[in-house]
């Protein structure tokens, strides 16, 4: 079974807080955690720094409860895009973006959602849970995203903090489920404190509230997260594929008469 993963842990400047968060995640049973770095383009132009390697930040990673392996910590970048020009950064090949393990995009308009699902090279598309969606989901871009292997991410920590957010989370999740039929969903926290984290089975139960089936809900915390991580790895490694096909040698070539002789006999 794929290990449980929490793909959204905001990376704040407080190192001790992050360490306690990682320990709580390991105690709850998560095998992998992704530290999220959010870039918002509406603010003045920010430089995308190279991701800090987790082994530098945390000298000793906690051991996942129930196994003897250490917690796996990945780096993730989320781009909040509200304008098509912001996406140009993703298309440029020489930037620090390539160094992150997972890339996510947070579209704010319908056109950007369509672009993110069909052409952008990302692993996750974040779905807004803190306010009413300004656009309705349509089937064609969602189906194209599912074919390309892009996953939709839902957060659950805003639902813990505020009751209005709860309504928005559940209503946005239900409208997404109606279109995508429960495929390609990832549920993650955006926990800033260890008390805002929930165990993986609790989160899978939340998936049932959103309208997923039991197996889809568990996959949203385990299998789909692993698929996202692998999708990010393939993005880092492969630019193109070359494959060779064995060409069958034509046996007829030896039997045909050379052209010069043929002309003489016919003439």
């Amino acid at each position: 079974m794929a290990g449980f993963a929490d793909l959204n842990v905001p990376q704040g400047p407080d190192k001790k807080g992050l360490q306690s968060l990682l320990e709580a995640a390991a105690r709850l049973g998560y095998s992998a955690v992704a530290l999220n770095h959010v870039i918002d383009f509406k603010e003045k132009k920010q430089e995308i720094a190279k991701p800090v390697s987790p082994s530098e930040l945390f000298p000793s990673l906690p051991i996942v409860q129930g196994t003897s392996k250490q917690l796996k910590v990945l780096t993730r970048l989320t781009l909040v895009v509200s304008d098509p020009s912001h996406c140009n950064l993703l298309r440029s090949t020489s930037s620090n973006i390539r160094l992150y393990d997972i890339i996510a995009v947070f579209p704010k308009t319908e056109k950007l959602f369509h672009i993110a699902c069909t052409t952008l090279d990302v692993d996750l598309v974040c779905i807004n849970v803190t306010e009413k969606l300004p656009f309705y989901f349509r089937r064609p871009p969602v189906n194209m995203a599912i074919d390309r292997g892009i996953y939709f991410e839902l957060l659950y920590t805003p639902a813990i903090k505020d009751s209005t957010m709860r309504r928005y989370t559940i209503s946005n999740a239900i409208s997404l489920m109606q279109i995508c039929k429960g495929k390609n969903i990832v549920i993650s926290s955006a926990a800033e404190r260890p008390l805002e984290l929930r165990g993986p089975y609790d989160v899978a139960n939340l998936g049932l509230l959103f309208g997923l089936s039991e197996s889809e809900a568990k996959a949203a915390v385990s299998t789909n997260c692993r698929a996202t991580i692998l999708h990010g790895e393939t993005r880092k490694s492969a630019c193109g594929v070359v494959y060779t096909v064995k060409k069958l040698r034509k046996v007829e070539e030896e039997e045909t008469v050379p052209a010069s002789k043929k002309a003489k006999t016919q003439a």
């Binding site: 709860r166 609790d202 049932l208």
Partner: protein, 127 residues
């Protein structure tokens, strides 16, 4: 000589889906230190309030019982009708505050049989 064949063995298979009427949950309330700890009645009130917040009056009317409660470790065993199991679990998951203090409900074990809650392999310490 004809040998009497024993009659072919017959068996009947019965599958009972969700035959148990109740589901049992072992939960632990995680409260950061400092401040009064809830007693059993306050815990029941907290559970009902969580259900009301998420599922409304109908959710709050769900038959939930607190079977045991240890105030020292803040762990309890809850019983709920099987039809309301998902509602209770999701309400406990999304509960964030107790008396304006941040808290979290950790669901340790769930089972349709109370006997299964007596042992927890996750807390097993091997020497």
């Amino acid at each position: 000589m004809a040998r009497a064949e024993p009659p072919p063995a017959t068996f009947e298979r019965r599958v009972l889906r969700s035959a148990a009427g109740h589901h049992y949950l072992r939960v632990r309330l995680e409260l950061p230190d400092g401040g009064a700890r809830p007693n059993a009645a306050q815990l029941k009130q907290l559970v009902v309030a969580a259900l009301k917040e998420l599922h409304g009056e109908v959710g709050a009317a769900l038959p939930v019982d607190v079977l045991t409660y240890e105030e020292k470790t803040l762990s309890a065993i809850l019983r709920v009708v099987s039809s309301g199991f998902v509602k209770l679990w999701s309400a406990l998951t999304l509960l964030g505050f107790y008396q304006n203090r941040r808290c979290a409900f950790r669901v340790l074990q769930t089972s349709p049989f109370l006997l299964a809650l007596s042992g927890n392999s996750r807390e097993l310490v091997l020497d």
